[in-house]
Amino acid sequence: MDIAGKDATIEPEKGNENPVNYCATNMSSDWPLNDNYLPNTSVGMIPRGNSIMESSACSSAPMVDSFCPLIWDQPVSEQNRGYCHVNIQNNARTSDSFGPSAGTGWIPDTMLRDDMFLPTVQGMVPQSLPQLPSDSGFIERAARFSCFSGGNFGDMMNPFSVPEYLNSYSGMLASVQGQHEVFAGDGTKLNTTESSKEASLPLVYGTEGSPLKNEKMRECLPCSREEAQQGVCTLANDSDEAEFSSRGDQEELEGSPRESSGKGVESKKRKGTEQSTALNVNNRALKPSAKTAKDDAEIQNKDDLNPTTSKPSGKHGKKGLQWPDLPKEEYIRVRARRGQATNSHSLAERLRRERISERMKFLQDLVPGCSKITGKAVMLDEIINYVQSLQRQVEFLSMKLATVNPWLNFSIEGLLTKDSRIGSSSSLGFPPDVTIPYPPPHQTPPGLIQPDLSSLANSSNALRRSINSPFTPAFRESTSQAPSMWEDELHNVVQMGISSSAHLSSQDLSGSLPPRHIKAEP
């Protein structure tokens, strides 16, 4: 097969040079694997490593012929591109709509040798590249679709007002890393043959305009646009776009509707096929607090998806069979990666893991200092410390506020100026020279906790670690400075605040305290 030749022809119009060669090599290696699948159109590959394999796997089934490769983002785009073009050619061959070329010689007739892909294909064995709607629009859509990371799936799924048989495709989820899955976006255009369904309608929705805020999506977007421009077939489905936007509105959380929809897309679980969900990609940009809304949107997406997806083939996981009846049940459709177990339970496990990791990414943004940490255990440790420190801060601050001199009479001007100043400094916390008004003499200073220096030290460390802020210096100052009454007071208050209030006892912090109080009283 003259893949190399093909690559040459393909020529990254987009301007990605390197990949072409890469693609070529990939293709050659993958070809045998994919048989007739259009080579890893599914590329989307996952970045690095197994990507090719997986991408090919993905693309394979349905995509097979028709897929127009999903051109992904830079690293993968190349590959895709190569594939894409190949696919195009391939499609052309099959559909006869395209020009020549595609020497189909490289596509072995043995389809689907790989069982892995079979499920996705839905039993469809694309012996002959199914006659896909050989319109350029379809290919374009496929390409666009592939460009989208998993996040976009939601959108893609959307338009699934596809005939049932196409639903099987809808299950494909792009892996986070960017595998793409060609998705049967628009079933209507596909031939009704089983094979054609499998062939995949790339869910290429005319979503270029959609606000793909997701990072990955952004990456894909240019690709899709380019693809579109290339005249790839587009499954121009106006309804899809409309659905898209409407869905986007529904899901709009913080302005990244597509991400949510992407999340929703991941809902169908297919037995035997699994792809990492692109949830994390989408979720990244979303605010954590918006998660609930997003999840609702996700569920909503799933609902939309359900009716449109066709019943999976017998090999599919149990969940797939219940689609039409599942109003709000959350199930995820995943695709097995190449070389991985296709057991439905392991798929579930993998899905679960992916969701967890995606959420951990959110936490990484939230907890300071966690950007470099990879690994659940360490992340959890940091999270625990952070939550503990926040809780301690609340305790401490409430104690501090309790010590505010009851008969302070705040003047308006002073407060206004103070407030404006305070408002500007967000991290204003413990000014080092803080002087806490000591409780009025008639109040028992007690209630002071037994000085627990070790806990104080620990809390200081914890606070410093998590907050990295004025707290520790203040503590240090208070503990190290000489005994001015104020410092002692601060120290006591700090100790009170830091130690959990369970330890509050009415012992005097130190015997010297009361006398100091009396002394200091004006």
Partner: protein, 216 residues
């Protein structure tokens, strides 16, 4: 970013208002409190306020409110606070138990099944290493569950979700309290105080009102 800051600002304002309201009600309850009681009042009001900003949509907020209401003395307080607003929803305990049992049994099955598969696939050492890692994660998850209110019966995914929400709320709480405390300190330091027998809470109220006016 803009949306984010706008959202958190409104959250802070909401929290502040509710907090002030709670403190006022509490101070009407008990006129004279020592420092400990004041601290408890402040903390309670703050917790209730921050939990109510979620409108009982998250597990932790519901649990927090429920825990506070468990105490008899607090109950009246709580009811008064919420008399005009949201209803405190509580999940039926039976449902929780059933769900947790289901989850637990599923986990057991899954775990055993997966270890079998892994033992077949990987070498014995790899299995051990991964199991050690899993133990670590499990222990830490347990700790996290104890930290987050209401996290006991949740599975990993929703636990992380709740933690996220809880962290955001805690940050809001801390931020507002910190600002208030520094405002109080600064005004004290500047000698704006005069001694009189104004109740301590009134002092705080003034600060808070002024700050609200500033923010708005």
């Amino acid at each position: 970013m803009k949306a984010r800051t706008g959202y958190s600002t409104s959250l802070k304002q909401e929290f502040l208002k509710k907090w002030i309201k709670g403190i006022r009600i509490y101070s009407n309850f008990k006129k004279d409190m020592n420092i400990l009681e004041r601290k408890k009042a402040i903390k309670l009001s703050a917790d209730l306020a921050i939990a109510s900003t979620r409108n009982a949509s998250t597990r932790w907020s519901r649990t927090l409110t429920a825990n506070i209401s468990k105490n008899e003395t607090n109950k009246l307080f709580v009811e008064q606070i919420f008399s005009d607003s949201e209803v405190i929803k509580k999940e039926a305990p039976s449902r929780l138990m059933a769900r947790s049992n289901r989850i637990a049994s599923k986990k057991i099955w899954r775990r055993s099944h997966i270890t079998q598969i892994k033992a077949r696939k990987m070498g014995p050492y790899a299995v051990k290493a991964s199991s050690i890692a899993k133990k670590l994660v499990k222990n830490r998850t347990k700790v996290l569950k104890s930290l987050v209110p209401g996290g006991e019966n949740m599975d990993g995914i929703s636990l992380i979700k709740e933690t996220l929400d809880y962290i955001v709320s805690l940050r809001v709480q801390v931020d507002v309290m910190r600002r208030l405390a520094s405002a109080a300190e600064n005004s004290t330091r500047l000698g704006l105080s005069s001694k009189c027998s104004v109740h301590w809470l009134q002092g705080i109220f003034t600060v808070l009102d002024h700050w609200c006016a500033m923010v708005h």
